[in-house]
Amino acid sequence: MFNKILIANRGEIALRVLRACRTLGVEAVVAYSEPDRASLPVQLADEAICIGPSDARRSYLSAPAVISAAIVTGCDAIHPGYGFLSEDETFAEVVRAHDLTFIGPPPEVLDRFASKEGTRRLLGSYGLPTIPGSVGMLRDDEHALEEAARIGYPVLIKPSAGGGGKGMRMVRTPRELESAIKVCRSEAKSAFGDDSLYLEKWLDENRHVEVQVAVDRYGHGVHLGERDCSVQRRHQKILEEGPTPAMSPAARAELCERAIHAVVAAGYENVGTLEFLVDANGDPFFIEINCRIQVEHPVTEMLTGIDLVVTQIRIAAGEPLGLAQAEIQPRGHAIEFRINAEDPAHDFRPGAGTVQRYHAPGGPGIRMDSHLFPGYEVPPFYDSLLGKLIAWGPDRATAIERGRAALDELVVDGITTNVEIHKAILANDAFLEGRITTNLLDRVGSAAFLAAAARS
């Protein structure tokens, strides 16, 4: 096991990793940017070190700053959290060149899965059903138009790098494709420093289902069930749950089995998530793999009782998984609500400000992962995630009831949050009946969605 880990992230995930380090008895140093000096992970850390100014490119995204911080504080491993440098194979390579361990897949594994388009073909060759799409990256507009015509509209333009919905556009006509492709290229370039794009067939009524896997260095892997992330707004997940209400237990088991078989065969290592679109017939299509710990990992932790961050650190330290598939028995149902500093009344405009009062809900099956505290100033420089409220119950109905009560109990004064959208979702028939699709919020419009919930 490592002696000391540098946590190169902020907010709730820095806190989450810090807690995992405590569990493992490993010292942790939190690397932070200037505006995060007073943040909770910095306060609770064994040590903290300022690595740069508010601009993430000079702090959380600066490989030299992060690695230098790890060296001067005597760390032997770096946990990148999610976002920032978490899936950057060049960073992982440089970390290793400095005799440090990157907590995540080794650089060559990250490299193998770096291209989303290439990964789709790789895992397809190991028996995963994949979404129809372009072969290779789009060279130019002409190539894009040819490929789109071959796949059939509507198509989704996607950047090869990154995630979080940036640089993604769904288009229904060649004309839309031509104009959207420029926007996507520039968004992808600025967000990920890479403007390569590819196309995927767009399924209008689809559900987003993802399989959590964990594979150790010795090729032993297990799946930890799936999560359903169909509640989205403009390709951003806002609520996740498990198990998925979209598939039968037999179909879920088969999907998870095929997923773990394919990634182990393809040489994956560490925790990861395989994302699928599930069409109206319940047929899954692989779209991409996330080589990191994900925001919604607590859903799986609540279902399985397994600490995924601890598992991730153990695997990176070279420990065998020590878990057989039969030992993993997901229980009940869990729902995660992302609490964001966003104003649903104003098109989810992100906000900042000072938390005046904060109260995290409690009770059976309730978990709150958040870095908030009264007096905390939410800086305007980073993403809007304030925390995650997770509700577990022995069945979906109980999880929903507990979630509803917990959302009512949550107090975050001083910052406008998106809590109202969660309450509206829990009042929505499509959600309650387990048939929400990824396009529902955008099709109905968030304002209309909120208004409908208010009437009911």
Binding site: D46, P53, A69
Partner: protein, 237 residues
């Protein structure tokens, strides 16, 4: 129910005075420790408030006083104190003298350095080892109580300070010597970040009055490195 904000502040101010566990050469051991603790108490009760007032009224950036085996150094933070160097032994649960938490908050009517003032210092015999007295905690939170005071007052009361441009290892240059006249933009040294030197620049014209960090020390981004007395500052007050 929601926590009382003042309770949270007391926790987050974190200005407890702590001793690091790594016994530096001059650090007293065993029975001396009790005497030490009593000594710290005396320092905190008597000397520190006086020093804080002095720092505020003299307009200097740093003040050091020796008493017995103890040396206490008070330094005004710029834009919040440095956090680097906080050690495992500084965890809240291991702090001693919790009653002194919030020391940096303006408890006295006199102007005082705010929020987690970087209480440096160490055994008189050890200038380079870990500080025996170290302020821990971000301290920045204390600012919420008196927002506006610090930014308004500090720049005038505090000489310019060259800060670290990066996280790495500090190497002072030829001009980082007390008494040297420097101009804004002069290179006072470098911080080596993964083998790439990043220049430490003088923020203003003036005279170097002290190098805070020794050569070869690991520093964080924004850490105070070299104090300068600005030209014209003398006599202006």
């Amino acid at each position: 129910m929601p926590e009382d904000p003042s309770a949270a502040r007391a926790r987050t101010d974190g200005d407890a005075v702590t001793r690091t566990g790594d016994a530096s050469p001059g650090a007293p051991e065993g029975g001396d420790r009790v005497a030490d603790l009593a000594g710290i108490d005396r320092l905190l009760d008597g000397l520190v408030p006086t020093l804080m007032a002095k720092v505020a009224t003299l307009g200097v950036g740093e003040l050091e006083v020796r008493q017995g085996d103890w040396r206490i150094r008070l330094r005004r933070p710029i834009g919040g104190p440095s956090q680097f160097g906080r050690r495992a032994t500084d965890r809240p649960g291991q702090r001693i003298h919790p009653g002194h938490e919030g020391l940096g908050a303006p408890a006295t009517p006199r102007p005082a350095p705010q929020g987690g003032s970087a209480l440096g210092g160490g055994p008189a015999t050890n200038g380079s080892g870990g500080p025996a007295l170290a302020a821990v905690g971000p301290g920045h939170r204390a600012d919420t109580a008196g927002q506006g005071d610090e930014p308004a007052e500090l720049p005038s009361a505090h000489g310019p300070v060259a800060t670290s441009p990066a996280v790495g290892v500090f190497q002072p240059g030829a001009k980082a010597v007390g008494g040297t006249r420097v101009q804004a933009g002069d290179r006072l040294g470098v911080v080596d970040m993964l083998g790439v030197p990043q220049d430490v620049l003088a923020p203003a014209d003036g005279i170097v009055i002290g190098v805070i960090v020794e050569a070869g020390t690991a520093v964080e981004y924004g850490q105070d490195l070299v104090h300068i007395e600005a030209s014209g500052a003398v006599g202006a007050r």
